[in-house]
């Protein structure tokens, strides 16, 4: 039983376990006796259970795959040779995966050896220097002027092409205060939407209102949820 415990620590996952079973039984990877391997695989999982060890879902998934391949192997096959050639071996996908996995498992051994070789070379930690950033060189006042002229012109173009839709919060604050004076100190929130009534105006108006509350210029009241919001000027 201790045998299983040792194995349990070794196997990285279902692929690792399968590779182990294949090597242990000296199986030709291109012609896996799926019934035998499946049985041994399940025996291992059962041993894990006996030790009350949680079996990772990937091990169970592989068990299901193995059982599925096994049942497909048992299905009667067409006797025609031509059709046999065309039909894929149910084990093919698993074999491909195992080969791919083995390639990298072998490579990881090679790389492990490279790392060991490299460990014979000792290096030093870098010396820490305070980072000094030199002043820029080769600057010329003309460059600055040219840069400014360029950016200024292009920004003017922008304003010509795109009509401004944004509402500044500051403008909105003036709107609200102005309206409050006009309507003797109390207005409803929707009255603040005096420009386009777009979503961005609502947002600007709301933010402006929050700002006015913070500055203690206005009071806001609402009787119940979703009812009208009243804004009152604080004197």
């Amino acid at each position: 039983m201790t045998d299983y415990k040792i194995k349990l620590e070794i196997f990285e996952g279902p692929m690792d376990l399968l590779m182990h079973l294949i090597e242990k039984n000296q199986i030709d990877i291109y012609d896996i006796p799926i019934a035998v391997v499946t049985e041994q695989y399940l025996t291992y999982l059962k041993a894990l259970e006996e030790f009350n060890i949680d079996i990772a879902s990937e091990f169970l998934l592989m068990a299901a795959t193995l059982l599925q391949i096994k049942s497909r192997m048992l299905l009667p096959r067409p006797s025609q040779i031509v059709e046999l050639l065309e039909e894929e071996d149910p084990r093919q996908e698993l074999v491909d995966r195992l080969l791919e996995y083995r390639r990298f498992k072998d490579m990881s051994m090679v790389m492990d050896e490279m790392l060991k070789q490299r460990e014979h070379f000792f290096t030093r930690l870098p010396e820490e220097f305070p980072i000094k950033i030199p002043l820029p060189l080769g600057l010329n006042i003309n460059d600055l002027v040219v840069a400014f002229a360029a950016v200024w012109e292009s920004s003017i173009d922008d304003y010509e092409l795109v009509s401004r839709e944004e509402f500044s919060i500051q403008d909105k604050m003036y709107d609200i205060i102005h309206l409050l004076y006009k309507y003797k100190g109390t207005i409803e929130f929707h009255q603040t939407l005096i420009r386009k009534g777009t979503k961005s105006e609502v947002i600007a108006a709301f933010l402006a209102l929050l700002e006015l509350v913070k500055l203690q210029r206005v009071l806001v009241s609402q009787q119940q949820r979703f009812s009208t919001i009243y804004i009152t000027l604080k004197e």
């Binding site: 692929m15 995966r97 390639r103 072998d106 490279m114 014979h120 070379f121 290096t123």
Partner: protein
């Protein structure tokens, strides 16, 4: 050679830098042409090949790095300042997949290894062996992983082209 007097500067720069340093960077600092740096570097390496010297310069990660000669490692380990930079089998398998298949997503690696690799990825990230190198343009835009400069350094590689060919390992 006129530039001979700069050999000591190169030795000192290699010492202070610790990490690999490129010919380009040395040339920038010393303000002399790169080909002169290269020949001075070769001379330096030759000087250090002398039997009584304990240091050498290796070419790694596209630069040059000062280090001790490999035959002295047994002695140096006695200093007790050796960092253990062993990687677990799981980490090494994952790293080899990333090294050869980069850029690669977590799911793609998990498909090859057949296990979840979140913890291993964290470790490799902490050890600065791998890094995010972009996003795959598929559903969920998963992170693409690749190896780092430090990876090259740790494995003594000058570049990814120095990795042993994967094809040779095929059955």
């Amino acid at each position: 050679m006129f530039y001979l007097k700069y050999k000591k500067h190169i030795e000192a720069l290699l010492f202070v830098s610790g990490d690999p340093i490129t010919i380009h960077k040395i040339a920038q600092i010393l303000e002399i042409p790169e080909d002169h740096i290269l020949s001075l570097m070769e001379e330096l390496i030759e000087d250090m090949a002398a039997e009584h010297r304990g240091l050498t310069v290796i070419k790694v990660a596209a630069g040059y790095q000062l280090c001790t000669k490999p035959d002295l490692s047994t002695t140096l380990e006695k200093l007790g300042q050796v960092q253990d930079n062993k990687l677990s089998a799981a980490a090494m398998e994952t790293l080899s997949i990333i090294a050869f298949k980069q850029p690669i997503t977590k799911i793609e690696i998990e498909n090859i290894r057949g296990v979840k690799i979140d913890r291993v990825l964290t470790t490799l990230n902490e050890r600065q062996m791998i890094k995010e190198i972009g996003r795959k343009e598929t559903i969920g835009r998963p992170i693409l992983y690749g190896t780092t400069e430090n990876f090259l350094k740790c494995f003594g590689l000058n570049g990814l082209q120095d990795l042993p060919p994967l094809a040779e390992l095929l059955p």
